[in-house]
């Protein structure tokens, strides 16, 4: 049962440009998280935004959350070759009383030199 869905599925941009990925979900949430996965590696947590927050920043990352539209966006500014990876959103449904989160299928980001 998939909760989050990322858009686009794949994205190629020039180094230095900004990359924006979107995530839509279906049910109310406690929080939404973004993860990065480099090729052949495990996922790495990037940022968590709670349902009562609208925007969070971490370095070159900016995450927004619109609970009325059930959507989130991840913006990576001034992209670098090292940002090439897959990016996943994961939601913690409101009714969950455990740590289980639900991952989307991810956006594959490719930074062109």
């Amino acid at each position: 049962s998939q909760q989050g869905e990322e858009d686009p599925q794949a994205l190629s941009i020039q180094e230095g440009e900004n990359a924006t990925m979107n995530c839509s979900y279906k049910t109310s949430i406690n929080n939404l998280q973004w993860y990065r996965q480099n090729s052949g590696r495990g996922l790495v947590h990037l940022i968590l935004i709670r349902s009562n927050e609208r925007e969070k920043h971490s370095g070159r990352l900016r995450v927004t959350l619109d609970t009325s539209k059930k959507s989130s966006s991840l913006l990576i500014t001034a992209s670098r070759a090292a940002d090439t990876a897959s990016y996943f959103c994961a939601t913690h449904p409101y009714m969950n009383r455990d740590d289980k989160i639900i991952f989307g299928k991810g956006t594959r980001l490719h930074i062109l030199p």
């Binding site: 049962s1 998939q2 406690n30 929080n31 998280q33 052949g40 590696r41 495990g42 996922l43 790495v44 947590h45 968590l48 709670r50 996943f88 994961a90 913690h92 009383r97 455990d98 740590d99 289980k100 989160i101 639900i102 991952f103 989307g104 299928k105 991810g106």
Partner: protein, 114 residues
């Protein structure tokens, strides 16, 4: 070393054989998870555990068995491997907080069932 480790990193087995994938974490996290990752499906939860001796099914538990006798270990066993279980398996852990429940992932085990 601190963190979460998985072994083996690569495994080739034959249909019908039993295979156990190991996962070990050093943070004393309460929660541990097993996912499989396949093209087109993203990450799917197989089983998870809230604490030692407490396990629950995830989205795709059939054909898998887990145990958690110690907080730091969460082995995943394929009792009779099938080709459809060829996948990359990830173990993860989290610290049991509804406020900050980010998960920490191991490096993965690539399993091929012939």
């Amino acid at each position: 070393d601190a963190g979460i480790t998985q072994s083996p990193r690569y495994k080739i087995t034959e249909t019908g054989r039993q295979v156990t994938l190991m996962c070990h974490q050093t943070w004393s996290h309460s929660y541990m998870f097993w996912y499989r990752q396949d093209l087109g499906h993203g990450l799917r939860l197989i089983y998870y555990s809230a604490a030692a001796d407490i396990t629950d099914k995830g989205e795709v538990p059939d054909g898998y068995v887990v145990s958690r006798s110690k907080t730091e270990n969460f082995p995943l066993t394929l009792e009779s491997a099938t080709r459809s279980q060829t996948s990359v398996y990830f173990c993860a852990s989290s610290a049991a907080s509804l406020v900050r429940n980010e998960q920490f992932f191991g490096p993965g085990t690539r399993l091929t069932v012939l």
